[in-house]
């Protein structure tokens, strides 16, 4: 009987997104919702730790990793286009991808990590479109590249990272995201429902979007610190956050964020994955990042589906 009780508790922890985060100190115990750490079959047999195809090949229904994002995006069968959306006197270069068919769909705005709107970020949009959402991925480096170019004008990822840090003005990026969102909800196929999903610094923007967008229904945050408390006070919709335990800089902020959200009476569910690092969406074969992103993405899609119906 005792074991039955334990089993029910574990089940709750897994099926209710963020339960672990709301109920406890935000640390998921090993085995709660994510498989425990361990080997990947690297037996000492001289094979040298070659992973199965799972490590490098795209798995349907799961987010692409850095290894397979380029091929995923290049070979998508879904309709997609680049659009320059006006933002005041400027514009934001935006990747839009549509779900299969002609039916109406909710919009999800994808907010980039510090390396910019690269193939991995586009693959996130592709996966969202595959799951039935119209995905818009705005390039907040629009016009900030060499010779006034966009993300694709940078010659290498490190240049884009430096530019993100030095040249992206947060308020301007928020304006770009809001402009893209306004454009998105007016698309003929849009239902009017809209959410944001952001990674790293994009996670911070996702928080701000939940506070500042005139129309918004939900926001998901991957390993991004929250903005200040005044902004959190203005959050209008439920936020779902995912963090890695081995990402000390960001994850150290989560408890304070949860407390601030609670004080403000806002819904903030979150999960800290044991043994997962920063960038666990991009880099899925390291540490326990694989189980973390598999669980987080499944919950993200369920969360968006719930709030965007």
């Amino acid at each position: 009987m005792k074991y039955y009780g334990v089993a029910v508790l574990l089940l709750l922890a897994v099926t209710a997104p963020g339960m672990a985060g709301q109920a406890g100190p935000g640390q998921a115990a090993p085995g709660q919702g994510v498989p425990a750490q361990g080997g990947r079959g690297q037996a000492p047999d001289g094979r040298g730790g070659v992973r199965g195809g799972g490590g490098f090949a795209k798995v349907p229904g799961q987010l692409a990793s850095g290894w397979n994002a380029p091929s995923t995006v290049a070979r998508t069968k879904l309709r997609h286009e680049w659009v320059d959306i006006p933002v005041g006197s400027r514009k934001v270069h935006t990747w839009i991808e549509y779900p299969d068919g002609e039916a109406k769909a909710a919009v999800v705005v994808v907010m980039s990590y510090e390396a910019g709107l690269d193939e991995w970020m586009c693959s996130v949009a592709d996966e969202l479109a595959t799951s039935g959402f119209i995905a818009l991925a705005p390039d907040v480096l629009t016009g900030l590249g060499p010779n006034g170019g966009n993300y694709d004008a940078f010659r290498s990822p490190d240049e884009a990272i430096r530019a993100t840090r030095a040249r992206v003005v947060p308020d301007q990026a928020v304006r770009q995201y809001l402009a893209a969102a306004a454009y998105g909800v007016k698309l003929p196929r849009a239902t009017g429902k809209i959410a944001s999903v952001g990674f790293g610094p994009g996670g911070t923007f996702s928080f701000r979007f939940a506070a500042e967008a005139p129309t918004v229904d939900a926001a998901a945050v991957y390993y991004g610190p929250a903005p200040n408390d005044a902004t959190l006070q203005k959050v209008k919709v439920p936020i779902l956050g995912f963090y890695g335990e081995d990402d000390p800089e960001v994850t150290a902020t989560v408890e304070a964020t949860a407390a601030a959200m609670k004080r403000a009476g806002k819904s903030f569910e979150y999960q800290i994955y044991p043994g997962a690092t920063h960038h666990f969406g991009l880099i899925q074969v390291e540490g326990r990042n694989g189980p973390a992103i598999q669980d987080a993405w499944k919950r993200t899609v369920a969360f968006l589906t719930e709030h965007l119906q």
Binding site: V8, P35, Q42, G48, G66
Partner: protein
């Protein structure tokens, strides 16, 4: 008789030094009259729930998750902590209120190991299939729980460091109480920082636990690395700016190759008896002087930008870096790695096509070719990453006059092969990489028995490909230590 004497001593300790008779130690009262003895030193504390994670992150005791088969297809996990003692240890199985270990039960097991016990915490809800995939079970009936726990108990007794004859002591722990079942009896203690020494005294007495503690060189190493990881080492920093002393990370590889001023060329080296030629990137150090040759063995996705940027770094550091495209001829239309459109295509196209023996043949061919270069000084070494790390280790077992081998997170060959190694081997591993670190420690024992030179470094909390993904977790501190070590090692062996 002797046993009774020991029992009395243990209890005297409890009564005399802690003075908690009646605080849950149910048999203390009747034995108070025993003669006083010198107090036993306690090596542990009861961790609080809040301290558990910190303790797990900083303990220097060797600990790991072991995979315990419960059927042909399925295994479960168990957390094991090894005591730092020179003789075999009593096994203690710790079970918390949940069927899966918490940080607290794991930390508590670590503290029991500080007293000389080999502790195991079963995780019967986490199943591992034949492919290493994990699945969390949510419910199990009690008989299946017992069956799985029994499998874990047997696996723990089978560990090399376990004293099998003693069987297991079983503990059920909750935040306020601990139940202990020894061979003799079952009892329980109220659990608090105050009763902990009492509990340890009882356990030591009941099990006859008299560990001979040893200094654990592995543990000291871990502590050293933890210290270095905590400090602000150069590489831990900017993900967008390369440190010239270190190889490029994931984000910097493209720029590193673009901006490199070193002389480089692609050579197609003939392979005996094959029509395929070995497409090989050779990068030279600056100047015209002679230099050692380093054969670079590719990681799991082949000779991609990151791997080629690493080749560049080896030449920057003064060696002729020779990087064969191991997958030469496996691409579309018999092409090489670069004939595939995307990285994942290259992996798929090459899968299973280059056998381990063919791998060795290709690297040997490249080495022999490289040693004939006018700038080669006659010395040669190998370095490999992931799968290539395993290849570098095996290369050392097959090439008698190799001067050095560096293994980044790759598996070791079997003992029979290790016996043939002549060259010194440097191994660099992340702790958070499955059984990799544990394998390194096992290999160290074998190499030491064989009288071979093997220097493994295991970096705490570091993941698998820490040379590539320098910007996550503590990987930055790991590569900041590992790379200068690598270059110093090559400089010693290849000059």
């Amino acid at each position: 008789m002797n046993k009774n004497m020991n029992l009395a001593k243990g209890l005297t300790l409890v009564a005399a030094t802690v003075g908690i008779a009646g605080a849950g130690y149910i048999r203390a009262a009747s034995l108070k009259a025993a003669p006083a003895v010198a107090p036993v030193t306690i090596h542990s504390v009861l961790p609080s729930a809040a301290e558990a994670k910190q303790l797990l992150n900083t303990t220097t005791r060797h600990r790991e998750w072991i995979v315990v088969p419960i059927s042909k297809e399925t295994s479960v996990l168990a957390w094991v902590v090894y005591p730092e003692r020179s003789d075999r240890a009593q096994v203690v199985m710790v079970k918390g209120e949940s069927l899966t270990p918490s940080d607290w039960t794991r930390a508590l097991s670590d503290q029991l190991s500080a007293e000389g016990y080999l502790t195991v915490v079963p995780d019967v809800l986490t199943e591992v299939d034949q492919h290493g995939n994990r699945h969390a079970r949510f419910a199990l009936d009690a008989s299946e729980v017992s069956r799985r726990e029994e499998a874990v108990r047997q696996a723990a007794l089978d560990l090399r460091d376990a004293e099998r004859q003693l069987g297991t002591v079983e503990m059920g722990v909750s935040p306020s109480q601990i139940r202990i079942r020894t061979k003799q009896e079952q009892t329980s203690f109220a659990l608090s920082a105050g009763t902990w020494p009492n509990l340890v005294g009882y356990l030591n007495e009941r099990t006859g636990n008299k560990p001979t503690f040893v200094e654990n060189p592995h543990a000291m190493h871990m502590a050293m690395m933890a210290q270095s990881a905590a400090g602000n080492s150069p590489a831990a920093g900017d993900i967008g700016k390369k440190d010239p002393r270190l190889p490029a990370n994931y984000f910097m590889a493209k720029a590193t190759l673009r901006d490199s001023k070193l002389k480089k060329e692609w050579i197609d080296i003939p392979l005996e008896g094959e029509s395929v030629k070995l497409h090989t990137l050779v990068t030279y150090p600056t100047g015209t002087g002679k230099a050692g040759v380093v054969i670079v063995m590719q990681h799991g996705v082949g000779l991609d930008e990151w791997q080629r940027a690493l080749v560049d770094q080896i030449a920057q550091d003064g060696f002729i870096a020779v990087a064969p495209d191991l997958w030469s001829g496996t691409g579309p239309n018999g092409g090489n790695w670069d004939a595939s459109e995307f990285v994942d295509d290259a992996v798929r196209n090459a899968a299973g096509k280059v056998t381990p023996d063919e791998t060795m043949k290709r690297y040997k061919t490249a080495r022999e070719w490289a040693l004939t270069l006018p700038r080669a000084n006659g010395k040669s070494g190998s370095i490999g990453f992931c799968a290539g790390g395993g290849n570098s280790f095996r290369f050392a077992t097959e090439v008698r006059d190799l001067n050095a081998a560096v293994v980044y997170y790759g598996a070791a060959p079997p003992e029979a092969a290790l016996a043939r190694i002549q060259a010194p081997v440097l191994g660099l591993y992340g702790e958070n990489d499955g059984r990799m670190a544990e394998n390194a420690m096992e290999t160290q024992a074998i190499m030491s028995r064989l009288g071979k030179q093997y220097e493994p470094h295991v970096y705490p909390k570091t993941t698998h490909s820490f040379a590539m993904f320098q910007h996550i977790g503590t990987n930055g501190a790991a590569i900041a230590d590992a790379w200068p070590r690598t270059i110093a090692f090559f400089k010693r062996q290849l000059s």
